[in-house]
Amino acid sequence: MILRDLPALRNSPALRDRLAAEYALGTLRGGARRRFETWLRDDPALRDVVAGWQERLAALAELDLPTAPPARVWAAIERRLDPAAIPPRTPWWQFWHCDVARPWGVLAVGACAAWLVLALSKTMPDMAPQSRQIAALNDAQSHTALVVTADTARGRLDVRVAEEVHVPTDRTLQLWAITRTGKPRSLGILPGNRSTDLALDARAIDPDVALLAISLEPKSGSPDPTGPTGPVLYKGSWANL
């Protein structure tokens, strides 16, 4: 049977497309489905073909009349989620949490980031100014979640994580330098997802680095050496101190 024949699958784009379509549609069943899933594991190009079909078919869902669900649906979802997941409020004087800046919008948040940078620069008075670069990494709402300092004299990369950053237990934060051409380079994962001191990789502060970014990855880091697989949570760029 043709489905058992792996070389035939590799060499026939038409067969690959047909099986990927039936897999996405759900009509590939039983042993054939299981064999197809084994091939998927080792064949990224085949995964892309499947993803293409999933995307085409998912648009079917949009052809239905949008209908707002009754309010009880959201209430039921909230009841099902762990109430402990709501982060506690932090005292106003813990400025590094940046919570204090939130009600006043972007301006205050910018000020908060500047405050962080200033506070950090004052805590490290023994360093030559030209040896330090600093980056505040913000979330989509411009809240600062991490501050990264590169110290070329000591050869260290200091990463401070705001306490309000709660990482799911089976995940890890990974730091990336993104070049101007958009190529990510891994700078390492944050042990315990807390503030840490990493060895400074020269590629982190190369002039072609446009951005630093943090992604959320499986425990041992992104399974793809060429870039993040999980969501990119925080971004920011270097500033010279």
């Binding site: 497309d17 047909r18 379509a21 039936e22 549609l25 759900g26 009509t27 069943r29 995964r47 993803a51 079909w53 999933q54 995307e55 085409r56 078919l57 998912a58 648009a59 079917l60 869902a61 949009e62 052809l63 239905d64 009349l65 949008p66 209908t67 707002a68 669900p69 009754p70 009880r72 649906v73 959201w74 039921a76 979802i77 099902r80 989620l81 997941a85 709501i86 982060p87 979330d139 989509a140 950053v165 709660h166 990482v167 799911p168 089976d170 995940r171 959320l216 499986p218 870039g227 993040p228 697989t229 999980g230 969501p231 990119v232 949570l233």
Partner: protein, 190 residues
């Protein structure tokens, strides 16, 4: 990892925040997508209380699965639709096997595309293209693909419902999918 339109970009940012257990972002994500997903669940299940259950279960899963979401495998809405579809099909099988109260024969397959949102401007570019291309399929092809995708039916089950030989159904589905792909590629190129 690069989102390819504004809606994807917005949903991607929300999912990233949800991955970090941001309840407010989760609510925004729900507000942005729940009407579309509930409309879809209604089509699969035909009964409001079952569709509510599907959307509720799906969002609980989305909350827990967001940290593992991978942009390069599926755009955000595709990923969410797939979760709702799995939940809805599970509920459908259960309802069908249990009290038999779910009328699986009613409105099987894909409805007339013109029964969708009255204003095509409400549809994304992708969905508009898909609606146009679905219209080019023979009605049997459209119905068989819809029954398989929406209701999770196998070739055999579709054949049984339509009272046709399995071989015919397989051919309809295969030809329908090829035609759909070619039509979408043509529109993309145009």
């Amino acid at each position: 990892m690069i989102p390819h339109n504004d809606q994807d970009d917005q949903l991607y940012r929300l999912l990233a925040a949800v991955a970090m257990q941001d309840r407010q972002a989760f609510r925004t994500l729900y507000d942005a997508t729940s009407a579309q997903l509930f409309g879809f669940a209604l089509r699969v299940l035909h009964r409001e209380e079952l569709a509510e259950e599907a959307v509720r279960d799906a969002f609980v899963s989305i909350w827990h699965a967001a940290p593992g979401y991978q942009m390069h495998l599926a755009p955000p809405l595709t990923w969410m639709v797939t979760i709702v579809r799995n939940k809805a099909q599970h509920i459908r099988r259960r309802a069908h096997a249990g009290d038999g109260s779910l009328d699986v024969e009613a409105a099987d397959g894909l409805a007339d595309p013109s029964s969708g949102p009255s204003d095509p401007a409400q549809l994304s570019h992708d969905a508009r293209a898909l609606a146009r291309c679905m219209e080019t399929l023979a009605s049997g092809q459209r119905q068989a693909i819809g029954m398989a995708y929406l209701h999770g039916l196998s070739h055999d089950e579709v054949a049984e419902r339509l009272d046709l030989p399995v071989g015919t159904v397989k051919t309809w589905i295969r030809r329908g999918l090829v035609r759909l792909r070619d039509c979408l590629a043509q529109r993309e190129a145009a």
